[in-house]
């Protein structure tokens, strides 16, 4: 088997395991990453929402926020894990496709 095939297989296994990145923080009651709190969490931390943060944080509404489907927040870990795997597949497909395009452009133009 070619090494690149093996590496893609490895990435496939990582995709299937990726819900660990969701489940373990839940199990160990770990919160957001430092500096990545939402507006509500910020209010709990310092008592107010900084004005600029409030304005800018609504600038972009991602189609799959936090690697989940909108409205699935309360659906429980098994649903969220499924969404997480789906988002990993989609995100990696888009990323890899963009890299193939970029790579093609860079190779062709020499």
């Amino acid at each position: 088997m070619k090494t690149t095939t093996k590496l893609w297989l490895g990435i496939g296994i990582l995709i299937l395991l990726s819900p660990l990145g969701l489940i373990l923080p839940e199990r160990f009651q770990a919160g957001d990453a430092w500096g990545e709190w939402g507006a509500d969490a910020m209010k709990e931390l310092i008592g107010y929402i900084p004005q600029g943060l409030e304005n800018l944080s609504v600038l972009w509404s991602a189609p799959l926020p936090d690697y989940a489907f909108k409205g699935w927040e309360a659906k429980g870990l098994s649903h969220l894990s499924l969404a997480y795997v789906f988002c990993a597949i989609l995100g990696i497909a888009v990323t890899a496709l963009m890299m193939l395009l970029v790579g093609r452009f860079l190779v062709k133009k020499r």
Binding site: L22, P25, G35, L56, G91, T95, R104
Partner: protein, 226 residues
């Protein structure tokens, strides 16, 4: 380490975009000269690996979460300029599709993870590897150390961006406008969690994959060298 929208004031995020533009231009110019058609799949793999490894949030029990970036591995496999493009693309997709990292902060996040981490990691790996053979244990060590140090320098860079916000912006009421934590809070917080936890994850992941490739396909490890 994915700075969201609203944590950096427009001057900081604007400057970081301006800093990244010539870096991206140089990266495409230099990669154009060196990239061979058969390396393109590896480019996609490097970006995909970085993407997926960032989804593995590692919890600090009762505290925050964080993750490895995979940028040093990409740099070892692809060379620093191609790795800069690969990690940037992963970060841009994360921001646009999944809201992981702000769109105003794409310049800043790419600077930290696709430039600072990539280049520090790449040159540390090269320096520590020295003239050792491509399959030597020294290179596994070099990969681990490079991963550990580089992600920490990237975290420091992010912490400085967070930490200067209260100095730059303050409402008349005295309230912060953007990130409310100064350098004295941001740097110890970001560095301690990366020094104690996430740096080790980056080190182990980078070293393990290099060790695997030494056995599987040493020629691949040679390709990233120039």
């Amino acid at each position: 380490m994915h700075i969201p929208d609203g944590y950096l004031g427009p001057p900081t995020s604007g400057v970081m975009y301006l800093v990244m533009l010539p870096i991206w231009a140089a990266a495409s110019r230099i990669t154009k000269k060196t990239l061979k058609a058969k390396q393109v799949p590896l480019l996609a793999i490097g970006a995909a690996f970085s993407f997926v490894i960032m989804m593995f949030n590692v919890p600090i029990p009762g505290g925050t979460t964080g993750h490895a970036v995979g940028a040093v591995l990409a740099a070892i496999l692809l060379g620093p300029w191609a790795a800069c493009i690969a990690v940037s693309v992963a970060l841009i997709v994360q921001a646009l599709l999944f809201g992981d990292g702000g769109i105003t902060a794409i310049g800043a996040n790419c600077f930290n993870m696709a430039f600072v981490e990539v280049f520090i990691g790449y040159y540390l790996y090269k320096i520590i590897s020295g003239a050792s053979s491509i399959t030597s244990g020294r290179r596994v060590m070099a990969a681990g150390i490079a991963g550990y140090v580089a992600i920490n320098v990237a975290a420091l860079s992010a912490a400085i961006m967070f930490g200067i916000q209260p100095l730059l912006h303050r409402a008349a009421s005295g309230e912060s406008l953007y990130c409310p934590y100064g350098l004295g809070v941001a740097i110890p917080a970001m560095l301690s969690e990366h020094l104690l936890f996430f740096g080790w994850v980056e080190a182990i992941v980078t070293a393990l994959v290099v060790k695997y490739l030494q056995k599987q396909d040493p020629a691949l490890l040679k390709a990233g060298e120039r």
